[in-house]
Symmetry: C2
Subunit: 143 residues, 2 copies
């Protein structure tokens, strides 16, 4: 696992410590982290602030997303995949997709390269959380 996925996992852990959903994300450009974020549905009472959305918001108005790579501990849902496609982010690296298959096909069909690292650590964070707070998870994925 590279330093960027480690930074995304760190974000997920921070979210968990805040009482939130443990999903984290970072945005990379020119080998550097230019945005970090984690899911804040619980912390901010905000259904929109998924990890990737928080990360893209924190990166600010960078104007152009050419050459950026988005990392997420979990396969992006349609909301976050929609941001990827709309902003023209061409590479997404995820920690796992067993917990949630997300919108991988949608991204791929729009020319996004999606790499699934299939990491035990990411799966375990989610399965522990879902066992503890299934209602929060179901709300987050719109069930």
């Amino acid at each position: 696992m590279d330093e960027f996925m480690q930074a995304a996992i760190q974000q997920a852990k921070q979210g968990r410590q805040e009482g939130g959903i443990p999903i984290g994300s970072v945005l990379i450009k020119d080998g550097k982290i230019i945005g970090r974020g984690h899911n804040k549905r619980v912390q901010d009472g905000d259904p929109i602030t998924h990890a990737e959305i928080d990360c893209l918001r924190n990166a600010g108005r960078i104007g152009n997303y050419r050459g950026t790579t988005l990392y997420s501990t979990l396969m992006p849902c349609y909301l976050c995949a929609g941001a990827v496609v709309q902003f023209g982010i061409k590479k997404v690296i995820v920690g796992e997709s067993k917990t949630f298959p997300g919108a991988k096909e949608f991204m791929v069909s729009h020319g996004v390269e999606v790499i699934d690292l299939n990491l035990n650590e990411c799966q375990q964070m989610m399965s522990e959380f879902i066992t503890e707070k299934p209602e929060l998870w179901n709300e987050d994925i719109g069930k």
Copy 2:
């Protein structure tokens, strides 16, 4: 035009007065407005806060989107259409799609009913804005 689209246009006008991009949105449930929002990219320095995103955020954690209708003055882009699909919103009513064709087909292919009111007032708001500030508009649609 019904009162809900009028409320969305009001949001768009408010955004324009704030120096922002004139796109507005409202979320309806049981015949009532439960969220209002407008694009705040400029005002908040935030690339994520499109009108529909701001509206859904302001509606808060409603849990379940069954029976909701999202109004927007402009056809939603992939980011906002992704939110519609992910949250299970089944009806979207837009002011126009001539300025921006958006992600209509994506929503329709996921079972969303999309109604385009093709309103002159909405088109004119956008064409005036784009003539005045083309760089802001190009940034917003990721060009």
